[in-house]
């Protein structure tokens, strides 16, 4: 499995960048130190044996569990709740968001997924647009939906929502039905 080999190589090549390796359903997810994601990506792309030459996707995720937002999870009295949600893990503010990179190697026909954690405010993730051009639109989408900023992105604008929109809709504290007045409609004539 080339993804496992990639983890070994990363451990050899870099000091302390691999924080965690999760295997689930025969898929590998590697948590990487946020500040070195660009170097890691460059290495994974250029290494002769690995050659992860495609960034299939870059996506964001929010780990926050809002306590007082009933619209968030309509299934509050979930019978599957058991102890899972009753002892909700506390998410520290400096690890609130995740950015996940799905990479593909055309030579080995295999995926690997990298993940970095991002603080709620003030932290910028190094952009990987210089490594794969396909990360351009994907990172813009992450910025649009979560407000995570990317260091060194050539053109970080909103992609789906209008330019004047002020919120980040896929954050867990953004209500499903939207915020009234956040999208002004043109005047009635």
């Amino acid at each position: 499995m080339i993804a496992q080999r990639a983890v070994e190589k990363l451990r050899e090549q870099f000091n302390d960048v691999v924080h965690e390796v999760i295997e689930f359903r025969e898929q590998l997810l590697v948590r990487i130190e946020t500040s070195s994601i660009r170097e890691v990506c460059q290495f994974l792309r250029d290494d002769e044996e690995l050659k992860f030459d495609m960034a299939i996707d870059v996506l964001g995720a929010d780990r926050l569990v809002p306590v007082d937002n009933p619209t968030m999870h309509g299934y509050v009295n979930d019978p599957f709740d058991r102890e899972l949600r009753s002892k909700q893990e506390h998410i520290p503010a400096d690890e609130r968001f995740e950015v996940i990179y799905v990479l593909y190697s055309n030579m080995n026909n295999e995926y690997i997924r990298l993940k970095v954690r991002v603080a709620e405010e003030g932290q910028r993730v190094p952009s990987v647009v210089a490594v794969w051009k396909s990360a351009d639109c994907a990172e813009r989408e992450v910025y649009d939906m979560f407000g995570i900023e990317f260091e060194g992105h050539p053109d970080l604008r909103r992609i789906y929502m209008p330019e004047y929109f002020e919120h980040y809709p896929l954050r867990k504290d953004f209500p499903l039905m939207g915020i009234p007045g956040s999208l002004p409609l043109p005047d009635k004539q």
């Binding site: 359903r25 299939i56 999870h73 055309n106 604008r157 992609i159 330019e163």
Partner: protein
């Protein structure tokens, strides 16, 4: 009362992005031939609501910024608020030209997350459905591309064929467009002998019909000259831009998830991965055309090999029971109630599952924390990525050829905007 939103384009960020990106000392404009053209979102050749901001030097395009989002419906946010089963109808509305393939892709992703093994008959039905959806999508793509460059007849002919296909879908799934045919752990209804007969008849007829369209286009001087050498992207660039599907194979890269990362019953079938070297609009057209013949081959093999048996996995806690049993048996009724109200409760974890859809790689990234709803569901839509390779492909192209390039990329905005 005036609201504070400004429709003035000259101040918007997309305009600035276009001007900043391509302004340099050499392209300063002494002759005054520099011009910015707004293309779309309401334009028949953009296949929906795609907007391009083009910067022209005379008739040549020197810069392009695509703008998506006019059809953004927030499907990822919706997914976090409904059970896995409830979300199936929404996958119809992603790539609305091949809803069957989306249904199958989504069900496969959830099954990978929950660890459900689907019985062979259902796997075969799914493969047949995916391939029929591919044929219908490619028929549409070929026809509309020909129409964009001026050959109206082909569109009518491919529409006629697609109509027959939709008749089959109607009998098979109960709906023509919004099929919602897959279920977690199987498919909604069995493939009956009637449908098999209809598919056989269609397959016997289709190659001749495609060939008719080929005869209209392949040696048609207007069509060939409008598409040949337009919108070129070479293999390395195509990989860097993340193109997938027919668009990537049109640049000579033989990447096909059906062969490279097999799912359903593709490993048991014999088919070729079509590639063409050109990297231009014409090559992408040829890839789609040839893939239809391959799909016919695949469906034929599936119909020959399809075994008898169950179409639902035997996992009562995850898979919806048959309706007739819900009404007559206590056990099934309880399961139905629990599944409909509280969801399937897969283990906590994250999976990425991708399939080769007609437009390219359709992936679902699901983060689960257990419970009935996904914590985060990301749709990796091929059209979204393909559209963002347009600035590269359009550079140096004449403004009248933009439609030929967009048509050959075959974007669907329902999927690009999610």
């Amino acid at each position: 009362m005036k609201t504070d939103y400004t429709p003035d384009t000259s101040k918007s960020k997309i305009y600035e992005a276009l001007i900043d990106q391509y302004t340099s000392i050499e392209s300063d404009d002494p002759l005054g031939s520099d011009m910015v053209l707004n293309f779309g979102p309401q334009h028949p050749a953009t296949h929906g609501v795609l907007r391009l901001l083009l910067r022209l030097d005379g008739e040549r395009i020197i810069g392009c910024v695509p703008e998506v989002g006019y059809l953004h419906r927030g499907y990822e946010k919706l997914a976090e608020n409904m059970t896995y089963h409830e979300y199936i109808p929404h996958t119809d509305r992603l790539d609305y030209l091949s809803p069957l393939a989306n249904n199958m892709a989504y069900a496969l992703a959830v099954e990978r997350l929950a660890g459900i093994e689907v019985p062979p008959r259902a796997q075969y039905i799914r493969t047949i459905c995916s391939e029929l959806a591919r044929i219908s999508s490619h028929l549409m793509a070929t026809g509309s591309m020909a129409m964009d460059v001026g050959a109206l007849t082909v569109l009518l002919w491919t529409f006629r064929e697609r109509e027959k296909l939709y008749d089959i879908f109607e009998v098979l799934t109960g709906a023509r467009f919004t099929t919602s045919y897959s279920r977690i752990g199987g498919v909604a209804q069995d493939l009956t002998a009637d449908v098999e007969k209809m598919i056989h008849e269609f397959l016997d007829y289709l190659p001749e019909a495609i060939h008719e369209c080929e005869r209209l286009l392949n040696r048609n001087r207007i069509f060939v000259e409008r598409c040949d050498g337009i919108g070129i992207i070479n293999g390395d660039d195509a990989i860097a831009y993340g193109l997938t599907g027919p668009n990537l194979r049109g640049s000579g890269v033989g990447r096909d998830l059906r062969r490279d990362r097999p799912y359903f019953v593709y490993p048991e079938l014999d088919f070729d991965v079509i590639t063409h070297e050109g990297g231009d609009s014409l090559a992408r057209y040829y890839v789609r055309l040839d893939e239809m013949y391959e799909s016919v081959k695949i469906v034929r093999q599936c119909l020959d090999k399809i075994p008898e048996g169950e179409i639902h996995a035997n996992k009562p806690k995850k898979v919806l029971p048959r309706k007739e049993r819900v009404y007559t048996r206590m056990e099934e009724m309880i399961h139905d109630f629990m599944l409909v109200n509280f969801g399937i409760d897969p283990p906590a974890g994250e999976v990425y599952s991708a399939v080769e859809n007609p437009k390219g790689e359709l992936g679902f990234y699901i983060q689960s924390k257990g419970g009935g709803v996904p914590w985060r569901l990301k749709i990796r839509s091929p059209s979204f990525v393909n559209i963002h390779a347009l600035p590269h492909m359009l550079k140096g192209v004449m403004v009248s050829d933009v439609v030929a390039v967009i048509g050959s990329l075959d974007p669907v905005m329902g999927e690009a905007d999610k």
